[in-house]
């Protein structure tokens, strides 16, 4: 028996209960839900919440990873291990057209890479398996256009988001109705902040990719961003040298597009302390967010998560 329940509910308890409620609603009202598993800390929390939401049943949906082929090697290893541990089905999809075109973010740029290897690939995967609801780990505090998104975000048959015509959402009442071909993006972590995610990871003892912890890693300094050399596909430009530096990642994406931060935070407590003292926002290390101040909204309208 758990004595915690007698105490007043804390902030994390409320967030947890809200996320679990959202997942159960979607599972009850949709035909074929799927969880987009992007391997990062938010996905780790979301997967943990899913295990809680349906216990003692297993979450009644598979995990889907849209693999751009440019993820960190440690992320892929972590993904396969977590899938095996939870016993959930793991679906992996890569855009075959992108592979045929040999898309390289350092050559073709982050915008084209994101469009082909992430946005298009995601749409292909959702269509291929006919998923009508996809859980994503996005949070409203991450970025300005995400702050505007509903918990259940409606997408038309072309997967487009219309930010001017979102369904109103009241209390805990979610409208999951949709026509053939239409789908929902569902964000159970909408009301979580970066600090909440780390506090919860610490409280629950959730496993995260080791890249979040500081370690000596081979990096190059490219335009002020520290890019980790994860494999030999990263071509050095003139004047760049690989240096071993004590770094960690605050957010994880494709390795050539994700900047490391210099940090010695090697434990959860140190990460949380560092985050609380930080003067910069979480997505500062994401190149794709700097393509213009409306770039995330543009990507989302086109079907990006």
């Amino acid at each position: 028996m758990n004595a915690l329940a007698a105490k007043p509910l804390g902030h994390l308890d409320r967030l947890e209960a809200e996320s679990i409620h959202i997942m159960r609603e979607v599972v009850a009202e949709c035909e074929r839900p799927v969880m987009l598993y992007s391997i990062g800390k938010d996905s780790a929390v979301m997967l943990h919440l899913a295990m809680k939401a349906f216990y003692p049943s297993k979450p009644p949906f598979p995990l889907l990873h849209v693999d751009t082929t440019w993820k960190f090697k440690e992320m892929i290893a972590f993904r396969d291990r977590r899938a095996a541990e939870t016993g959930l089905e793991l679906l992996v999809h890569t855009n075959p057209e992108g592979v045929a075109m040999n898309i390289d973010p350092t050559v073709h740029g982050s915008q084209l890479h994101t469009q082909i290897m992430k946005t298009d690939a995601l749409k292909q995967a959702l269509d291929k398996w006919k998923f009508d609801a996809a859980f994503g780990g996005a949070r409203r505090d991450e970025e300005k256009s995400r702050a505007k998104e509903r918990v259940l975000s409606f997408r038309n048959a072309q997967h487009r988001w219309d930010p001017k015509a979102q369904r109103p959402e009241f209390w805990r009442l979610y409208n999951a109705r949709k026509g053939p071909g239409e789908s929902l993006r569902v964000f159970p972590l909408s009301n979580w902040t970066e600090a909440d995610v780390w506090d919860y990871i610490a409280r629950e003892g959730i496993d995260v990719v080791p890249l979040y912890y500081a370690k000596e890693r081979p990096v190059i300094d490219r335009g002020g961003m520290l890019i980790m050399v994860d494999d030999d596909r990263l071509k050095l430009q003139q004047g760049e040298t690989v240096q071993q530096r004590l770094v960690r990642f605050r957010t994880l994406g494709c390795y050539p597009l994700t900047g490391a931060i210099e940090s010695s935070a090697a434990t959860l407590e140190e990460i949380i302390a560092e985050m609380r003292a930080s003067r910069s926002s979480e997505r500062q290390g994401r190149l794709i967010d700097h393509d213009g101040s409306s770039s995330m909204e543009q990507k989302k309208q086109e079907g990006y998560f």
Partner: protein, 542 residues
């Protein structure tokens, strides 16, 4: 979908220091367009040093491109996240911001002021405890200010801060401020706010946001942030009667049958007797199951899975409630509706009503009155064919296809609020708050008692036609006594012997009474040939 058992919780890694659990306040900013809501939030984050450096750098860039403040920072751009919003300088949809001070955590919903986006404002208001209502000091209370006041009050927001903004443009005049305060308090008399705080401020300059204004020393109250930190939040959900809408039946194997849901009121522990609605059957809680182990006690605000001591057919949409103060069952609702879409409400059209985890077809029979936004009062409609147009609020009567369990909205937001969904477009067309609930006889027989009876495995009983054993016994005696007198007479006529006649009669009395009683009891099991009186189908319940 039920794919076997999940592995239980792994051993916990050594947990970090418990985060200081500060109380949370959810509030919204609302008011008419251009009254400075987004600017207020942006400036508040900036002054309280809660905006990240790279966001401020981006703000400096954006201010040059889209800003409306000349060379100064345009703080609205810190929150207006959509491209169309930045281009047009208006807020279209509600933006949620998360920040914490030393004393408190906040979730603020910055809502749009434009009439056409009222529904997005209502979205933000539905989960708020407090509303910061902005008023432009030059313009005073506008229609939209009143409409927002009515909506936040209707949605159950009990605390309001009237932020009289742009005081610099009225020379920081105490008289103008006092006039607006008096107007608002007079208007709000009909509304249901528990507290009203009126604060003069200049959002773009930060006067009375985080720091007290030096230019308005006549104002002796707290600045906005200090007030928000101190206002009491009303979390009374756990003292309400127990409410548990069943979201999902959890059935991983034949040995386990649990009911998953979010506790919408009160608390529960194993051994508690609960009533299942709408069937009305009482049962007992066996376990409160969670991934982290069984709980001895669970309270409103938790998501749990309950198991019962008996095998009972319960499905999504049913509600487990306290048998002492159960929710109401009804198929006629009297409710306040806010109409959210351009296509007006159509009477007698079948919409889907969602309340808790229950979805049922419903139609609006009549709109009884409109709420006048100037006064906040209901005005009865003379013409019964009149309905609700975009953004209009009214009192309506709804007829539901099946009876549902619900509470009055003023008693419980979670089980008293509902939405209407268009069956063709799938849009959410209205949000409603239950004021009254009633139950017609017809649905009582066809819907609810039948499902109760079917669980018992017997046909629907009609208690008026169902004799008790005592009645059967009395009936057999009243039949037997005159019958036995005739039997004795007949026996004596043939035998002329009192002894033999008495013996025959005695044997017959005992055997026939038993036989009659058994026969009568047997017939109560069959409904063949029984008719009932149809009660009149009036709808006086509301």
């Amino acid at each position: 979908m039920h794919g076997g058992l999940a592995t239980p919780a792994p051993l916990r890694a050594p947990a970090g220091p418990a985060p200081a659990d500060k109380p949370l306040l959810r509030f919204i900013t609302c008011g008419s367009v251009d009254d400075g809501k987004s600017t207020l939030i942006g400036r508040l984050l900036y002054d309280a040093d809660l905006a990240a450096d790279d966001l401020i750098a981006a703000l400096e860039q954006d201010s040059k491109k889209h800003g409306t403040q000349g060379d100064d920072l345009d703080f609205a751009l810190l929150v207006d996240g959509l491209a169309a919003e930045r281009e047009q300088g208006i807020t279209i949809d509600v933006a949620y911001r998360y920040f914490a001070t030393e004393k408190r955590k906040f979730i603020v919903a910055d809502t749009p002021g434009h009439v056409q986006y009222t529904r997005n404002m209502a979205t933000g208001a539905s989960t708020a405890e407090l509303a910061v209502l902005l008023v432009d000091a030059r313009r005073g209370l506008l229609d939209q200010t009143r409409r927002h006041s009515v909506i936040v009050s209707m949605l159950g927001v009990r605390h309001v801060v009237v932020a009289v903004n742009k005081m610099d443009l009225v020379s920081y005049s105490q008289e103008i401020f006092a006039d607006i305060e008096r107007d608002f308090r007079a208007f709000a008399e009909h509304l249901r706010f528990l507290t009203i705080q009126v604060i003069p401020l200049v959002a773009k300059d930060g006067d009375n946001l985080v720091h007290a204004s030096k230019k308005m020393d006549w104002y002796s109250g707290p600045p906005l942030l200090a007030y928000l930190e101190s206002v009491a939040s009303d979390d009374n959900a756990r003292v309400l009667p127990f409410r548990f809408p069943v979201q999902w039946v959890n059935r991983p194997s034949h040995d386990f049958r649990g009911f998953s849901g979010f506790i919408a009121g009160g608390n529960v522990k194993p051994g508690d007797i609960v009533r299942i609605l709408p069937s009305g059957r009482d049962t007992t809680i066996a376990r409160i199951v969670t991934y982290d182990g069984d709980l001895a006690h669970a309270v409103a605000g938790q998501s749990v899975t309950l198991t019962l001591t008996e095998e009972i057919d319960i499905s999504r949409g049913d509600m487990l409630v306290s048998p002492v103060s159960p929710a109401k069952i009804g198929d006629r609702l009297s409710a306040r509706l806010l109409w959210l879409v351009r296509e007006p409400l159509t009477l007698d059209k079948s919409y889907l009503l969602k309340l808790g985890a229950r979805m049922t077809p419903a139609f609006v029979k009549q709109v009884a009155s409109h709420i006048q936004i100037e006064t906040g009062l209901a005005e009865p409609l003379a013409d019964s064919s009149q309905t609700l147009a975009f953004n209009e609020i009214g009192e309506a009567e709804l007829w539901l296809d099946t009876a549902i369990a619900c509470d009055l909205y003023e008693d419980n937001r979670e089980t008293g609020g509902f939405i209407l969904i268009d069956r063709v477009t799938n849009e959410t067309v209205a949000v409603g708050m239950v004021k009254q609930s009633a139950w017609t006889e017809r649905s009582a027989r066809n819907g609810v008692e039948a499902s109760y009876a079917s669980m018992e495995g017997v046909p629907p009983p009609d208690h008026l036609l169902h004799p008790t054993p005592l009645r059967s016994l009395v009936k057999s005696l009243s039949w037997r006594v005159p019958g036995s007198v005739i039997t004795f007479g007949a026996a004596f006529l043939f035998t002329q012997d009192t002894g033999i006649s008495a013996a025959i009669t005695g044997t017959e009395i005992v055997s026939k009474i038993v036989l009659y009683y058994l026969h009568e009891r047997l017939w109560t099991r069959f409904a063949v040939g029984l008719t009932k009186n149809e009660p009149p189908h009036d709808d006086t319940g509301l």
